[in-house]
Symmetry: C2
Subunit: 491 residues, 2 copies
Amino acid sequence: MHVFFEPESVAVIGASRKINKAGHVIFKNFADNKRRGVFKGELYPVNPKEEHILGFKCYPSLTEIPGKVDLIVIVVPAPIVPGIMREAAAKGVKAAVIITAGFSEIGNHELEKEVTEIAKKAGIRVLGPNCLGVYDSKTGVDMLFLPETKVLSTGDEMVATPRPIAGNISIVTQSGAFGASALDFLAGRQLGISKFVSFGNKCDVNEAEMLEYLLYDDRTHVILLYVEGIREGRKFMEAAKKVTRVKPVVALKTGRTSAGARAAASHTGSIAGTDQIYEAAFMQCGVIRARDMEEFFDIGKALAYQPPAKGNVIGIITDAGGPGIMAVDECESRGLNVKKFSDETIQKFEELKKEGKIPKFATNLNPVDLTGSATSEMFEIATKILLDDPEIDGIIILGLHHLPALMEDFIDRVANLVKKYEKPAVACDIGETEMAMYIRARFDKHGIPAYGSPEDAARAMHALVRYGNYLRKCGCFEEYMEAFYKRKGVK
Amino acid sequence: MHVFFEPESVAVIGASRKINKAGHVIFKNFADNKRRGVFKGELYPVNPKEEHILGFKCYPSLTEIPGKVDLIVIVVPAPIVPGIMREAAAKGVKAAVIITAGFSEIGNHELEKEVTEIAKKAGIRVLGPNCLGVYDSKTGVDMLFLPETKVLSTGDEMVATPRPIAGNISIVTQSGAFGASALDFLAGRQLGISKFVSFGNKCDVNEAEMLEYLLYDDRTHVILLYVEGIREGRKFMEAAKKVTRVKPVVALKTGRTSAGARAAASHTGSIAGTDQIYEAAFMQCGVIRARDMEEFFDIGKALAYQPPAKGNVIGIITDAGGPGIMAVDECESRGLNVKKFSDETIQKFEELKKEGKIPKFATNLNPVDLTGSATSEMFEIATKILLDDPEIDGIIILGLHHLPALMEDFIDRVANLVKKYEKPAVACDIGETEMAMYIRARFDKHGIPAYGSPEDAARAMHALVRYGNYLRKCGCFEEYMEAFYKRKGVK
């Protein structure tokens, strides 16, 4: 499996000099990354009609390449793929990514079967067909053939399919187009990824195997999985159970409704199955299911940045009453407990009021509302009190920047405290202009995931609670926490 | 009531030269808008300690102002507000906005009662106390005292509380801080507003009266209402019933859960009441309730841009299978009907396949999936077919820009068609980088509201269906449509 991500030698079958062709884009990705020193393997273009592509000697066929070839990326038309696979078998290729569409997804089951059988016999692992393939932010393997930029009719060039920064989220997706969207989303939100895998028709490698492989990938801390249907359910569950004890798996499973299932069937031929079965299966093997696309990414971010919660009691700090209530509502309707603070904690706030350190009329039952007079110091003190309260398992910090006295250093103060405890915290600032973006980015940089709405923050916290519950149930909470903080390099 | 929004003369009581004071920011807003020719009324600063503020002659007291004063904005400390109100009564002031906090929200019920009684006796209408007051994008009335920019410790200045562009959404909010966030959100998303009203403790003017006033405001096409509790329920319902027949009212009512209700009680002293009662009341009077903050804004945008739907059958066009399924799932789980297209419509798509005008393997049951080979022409043809299908009441267009052959002119083609029909359409492109933002903005400019996730687009369509249902039930659908298109200037 690692050949897909770290091949020592790659041949692009159907490499092209025509810039609009997938065979060009993919070969260029590899060539550019090789030139930059990111991709370290050997690289061979295969195309009988060309002598050179981007300065690389072009081979008329796979078998004529002098050196060994680990991995081939196939972008030639479907009907000639079986022939290529036979050559690959002869050449001793270990793995093949078939980007080409036109197989079972359009009813060409026979052709797909033929390819699968050649591969099986030769021991070649196959990703695809009908997929976007692999992107690895570290090794420079990049098969994304979608144009990185597009030129508008005005002549302006725009970023169209960006690559996110390197990080610790890996994406495994059945839908290639959704995968491309995910990259665009994560790039824009400054979320870093390790690996991206789109497996399309999954004639060989499927989600179960991919999960197991990612279990052993140190750079993957969280797995985001988009699926429309899972074929080998038992295998998937076995793999997922192993993985979720060590790293969180977040699933976006579409085809929830009967009309959605019908759409899924005509999209990838997936049998979506009864949604309750998936729901129960995910629950059982600790896969955290997201309700929609935004939650999918929001949860991924939360689990990548913060530890799971030890229980479901949430404390909320806010400088704005209304958004505080929104966070409470969303927490409670998701089954989290925003109960009144303990007498001891309430007493601590009362004393601060007497000392003039927080406003006399700050409410302090939960949420603690520092009111419009909130300052950085107040946020710091309040955060410390909630971190010290053993009854509270997670903290939501709503630091709306609009208030006059609140300076941006509240983020650093709060974050430095949070780092000293093993209690998860998430943050929110509302707004879509300069300062709101800055506040959220600064929280993110400190590893406190920040969201644009109180409800999104509450949903993120809900995921941290769900995952914590699961780990405790499995008896591997402590182990996870140890690994988590070791990875973060904090302890 | 119109004095709050279009006063002929305004006095700011507590105007200040100290730039950090609310009395300075508010006075400066008016002064700047007067200089720019936006605010056309007379302007008087009142402060016994100053002679001039920003070039305006300062008066030691309200009564010493020579001309008449329509509206006063009060930013002096709570204990001296009753004295100011007595002067206002003597001066013949028509309306007062009490920005000052420190009244019933912190238990000072007596003080608030005193102020309310003086006002009532003198016939002065009061907004507040404890509020952000009014912002009117046309008349230049701007009482927002939150700093428009903030200076970071690095010395960088950042936009902190922006003003949205002028438009047709009006915001009525009980929470000032949420109001500020809303302005920030709408500004960043390029959504235009007409009026913004924060009424805080609502000792006099409340949401019922404000709704009725906005009913007659031509520049307000949609009302976004944030409330934690409604005191005079019957009055509110009567007003809402009148308004919702003519323009949509979208409500974000927090305190849904018991913990949320407790938080609301300690925030604005609101008795949130049983949520089911609110739910039923909103339903009965045609107020469209949003489930969370993002939906609140998303729905507002949909209703501002598009007509309501005639029924609940939705057709979906996509170039990406996965996101298509997500849209179907969300539609169906909200009670919309994404049923299989009629035989006639399916036949039309089949013929296009034969003619090679859409890909042979495009699925066409609903969604119609144009696949990764989608072009602008295909989007145009598919949109026309769904617009022409009398069974379909609304269209969701998922135009993911990542695909190689899709050019941005598909937006213009689709939008020009949509404009010719009385059928609502909403759009989606996924991504948070350059081209995704551009695609959504271009749809928005054409009046087709665009969203960043398929589920958000489905929720927006759901609101258009809900509102259409309500209007039909009231027998005023046709009337609304006529007014809608008259406003748009299309017919």
